[in-house]
């Protein structure tokens, strides 16, 4: 049981980073940027290329992964979404575009790297410690610590800085925010870049355990979506809670029922929440991109 908890915590940590980015993008840009999954995948493959293919080592790979994530996310916003928003595209249209981006990117990766699984490893990942009866690797511990620190930092940032206020204003009511001088486009582009960088970080860390394949982003994205919905889209602690819940439940289901039912249970949980409490446990009620 405590082993289950340990494993869940480690993967939940990485998923949380992805979900927080995704959730912040949804709060500010007001649509489900499914191409976030593509950003995740691209970043992981860039890390792999730098650290394994060129042999520059894990840390440089991580750095490149994060930067490439940020760049891709930034590019998607600036080249595509921003233009569409200027044309007053609805959230559905933006979502469809993000689906198109996801499909395109995933297949580009498949084209370049093939559909097979690639391995990304580093030595410290294999040093295993025993904590409260569970075996946990140093890499997993790092993952948890990093995620906690980042989420806490983000939360503090959002609630105590001027920029954080601008973000909250944008999430709350963009038109009103604009009238008091908040530059929406700047807020959105920063959220896209940093959210995508986080996805890159999570991708590289998680890739040590899960290995790389072109569809890896979609799987993580879907879990992130569930976590966000049940935790509450606009709230960082909510997202953390939501991801923890879904990861635990999924692993529990996989352990007690059978490994293949994990996804179905996770999504059943999603449906339950969508019906019962669509704003999630800690979230605020929903609004759309166009009034």
């Amino acid at each position: 049981m405590s082993q289950l908890l340990a494993n869940s915590l480690a993967s939940a940590a990485a998923y949380t980073l992805v979900a927080v980015g995704f959730g912040l993008i949804y709060s500010t840009a007001r649509f489900f940027h499914f191409a976030h999954g593509a950003v995740y995948t691209i970043a992981a493959y860039v890390s792999y290329t730098v650290s394994v293919y060129f042999g520059f080592g894990w840390w440089l790979g991580l750095l490149c992964g994060m930067s490439s994530g940020a760049i891709i996310g930034w590019a998607m916003e600036v080249a595509i979404y921003r233009r569409m928003r200027r044309g007053r595209a609805s959230s559905t249209v933006l979502f469809i575009a993000s689906l198109g981006l996801l499909v395109t990117c995933q297949n580009l990766i498949s084209l370049v790297f093939g559909d097979g699984t690639l391995i990304l490893r580093r030595e410290s990942a294999d040093h295993v410690r025993e904590v409260a009866g569970a075996r946990i690797s140093e890499a997993q511990i790092e993952c948890i610590v990093v995620a906690l620190v980042i989420c806490a930092t983000i939360w503090v940032f959002i609630h105590s800085t001027k920029w954080g206020r601008e973000l909250r204003a944008t999430a709350n009511d963009p038109d009103l925010a604009r009238t008091v001088g908040v530059r929406i486009n700047r807020v959105v582009v920063i959220v896209f870049s940093s959210g995508s960088a986080l996805a890159g970080l999570a991708a590289t860390m998680l890739a040590q355990e899960t290995d790389l394949h072109p569809a890896m982003g979609v799987e993580v994205l879907l879990l992130a979506v569930v976590g966000i919905v049940i935790g509450g889209v606009g709230s960082v602690p909510g997202i953390v809670l939501g991801i923890l819940l879904v990861t635990l439940l999924r692993n529990l289901a996989m352990w007690q029922l059978a490994p293949q039912w994990g996804d179905a249970i996770a999504f059943a949980l999603l449906i339950v929440f969508l019906i019962w409490r669509p704003q999630g446990l800690l979230g605020k009620p929903i609004r759309s991109a166009t009034p």
Partner: protein, 290 residues
């Protein structure tokens, strides 16, 4: 020649699928990513009935359609009360769940192993064995689906659907039970998709869950959107374009693995370009709120 006939069968199948999704996405404005699940439901029902119980093809089709319509209730009733974006996420969720069931309920569906040896169809003594026969069958199905959508489009029922798409509150204020309309649209759409699934199963004679994934749903919705939602011809054009264009790639001499990725890249890129430039698609009338 065989190859061209095969492509024609695929066109027939995908026209049926996209035209059936048009009822939901185009006429009613409900973007559903669960369509491949109903496609799969029809395929599996038909296949299981034929392989396990020796049921004739027409029965398999009808039962498949019925089951899809019933299951659509499970999906639509909870999801329809959800706001735009969340409705889409809910259908996404159902697609994953349904796929998971097809893939993991090994006792019933044999999971990833799939169901081989599905007999080719016979309709009241007319045995369809040749490629030409299948083309005819696919064409009949596509025409039937088109006919159903046409009927809905020009009927008062269709008018209400379109009004719901444009302003649901207004329609409710006029006294219409919008939920009922949407549920019916969903069920009809699902049933037609299931019929396509049955044909697919008996044509390829082997099915497995990988044909009915989220990606397939995205492909079908792409056909509707790129061709143009809200128009009778849009999905048809979308299906023809998206099925034949990648097949044309083969003649450029790309290796098949590259070709598979290239087709998806084309779909994806077309989708993005369309959304940026013309969300209502090539000949459509509805731009999803744009």
């Amino acid at each position: 020649m065989e190859y061209i006939l095969h492509v024609l069968v695929l066109v027939g199948l995908y026209v049926t699928l996209s035209v059936s999704l048009e009822i939901l996405a185009g006429q009613t404005g409900l973007l559903s990513i669960a369509h491949a699940a109903f496609y799969g439901l029809g395929a599996y029902t038909s296949a299981l009935l034929a392989v396990r119980l020796g049921a004739p093809f027409p029965l398999g089709v009808l039962v498949g359609m019925g089951i899809a319509a019933l299951v659509s209730l499970v999906v639509s009733l909870p999801s329809l009360r959800l706001h735009d974006d969340y409705f889409v996420i809910a259908t996404f969720g159902f697609q994953i769940i349904l796929f998971s069931i097809l893939n993991n309920w090994i006792d019933l569906t044999r999971g990833p192993l799939g169901i081989p040896g599905i007999p080719q169809p016979s309709i009241f003594g007319w045995a369809i064995r040749s490629q030409v026969g299948f083309v005819i069958l696919a064409a009949v199905l596509a025409i039937f689906a088109f006919f159903v959508v046409e009927l809905i489009t020009i009927s008062p029922f269709g008018r209400v659907l379109r009004s719901i798409r444009e302003d649901e509150v207004f329609v409710k204020a006029m006294g219409k039970n919008t939920t009922w309309f949407k549920v019916v649209a969903f069920a009809v759409s699902a049933a037609l998709a299931a019929a396509a699934g049955s044909l697919y199963a008996h044509y390829i004679t082997y099915i497995d869950p990988t044909s009915f994934t989220v990606m397939e749903s995205i492909l079908i919705i792409s056909m509707v959107i790129i061709g143009g939602a809200g128009s009778r011809w849009g999905p048809l054009i979308g299906a023809v374009v998206l099925v034949t264009l990648p097949e044309a790639l083969r003649f450029i001499g790309l290796p098949s693995s590259v070709a598979a990725n290239m087709r998806q890249i084309i779909y994806g890129a077309l989708l993005v370009i369309m959304m940026m430039v013309r969300p209502r698609g090539l000949v459509g009338k509805y731009g999803f709120g744009r």
